[in-house]
Symmetry: C2
Subunit: 137 residues, 2 copies
Amino acid sequence: MPSSPPATAERWLAQARVGRLATVTPAGLPHVVPVCFALAGGTIFTAVDQKPKATRALARLDNVRATGRASLLVDHYEEDWSLLWWIRVDCTAAVIDSEAAIDALAAKYEQYREARPAGPVIALEPARWRSWIPSDS
Amino acid sequence: MPSSPPATAERWLAQARVGRLATVTPAGLPHVVPVCFALAGGTIFTAVDQKPKATRALARLDNVRATGRASLLVDHYEEDWSLLWWIRVDCTAAVIDSEAAIDALAAKYEQYREARPAGPVIALEPARWRSWIPSDS
């Protein structure tokens, strides 16, 4: 069941430059990779980029195709632990080909404007937002 | 089947202040949280700390108890993407009570010396190391 994001959580997630994408392998094992992503129209998009990482690229795509689920975590670490925060979005997920999704990624990241990803893209539809954000934010 | 870590990967993992721990729920869904951790004698330890986060604390412990697996990711982000790196350790995992494990965490983190975690601890035994590290490191 979808849940609406708190405004602060959605804004902080949208602005974060990196997140960590957790998926589950067809055999039921956990998998996690760092990803760049963009939030557009309530959907989160992430693309496989240019670096030579064939095995992990295939793993995350295979996992999404097999399970239809992914969880994206954005967090902030510093040594003053009273300032830690994190936002997690548990999502349904699909592998798609979408120039509009790559446009959203390129709008956020200059690096993608310089070297446009070929795709495919993972589209994440938030089903549940969870966060730990300092109460004065 | 265990695999030995490359020396650089093990050193960088040990020094990282924060990692992201991916687990799988009993229902097969992905879960991911930021964690502090310590590497001691080839085993990685992470404790539930002091902040009020009952639901996610229970989730990660329940997941480890149900599946016996977890994956820990450490990564570095910066805008020059040629300098990105990540290290992932796919592990067997167990929930334990261990003062020695908390000692290892307290040795790494002053915050844990000031407020010692009560436990329990998740012990991660690396089964497979994967990394993307710039070749000149």
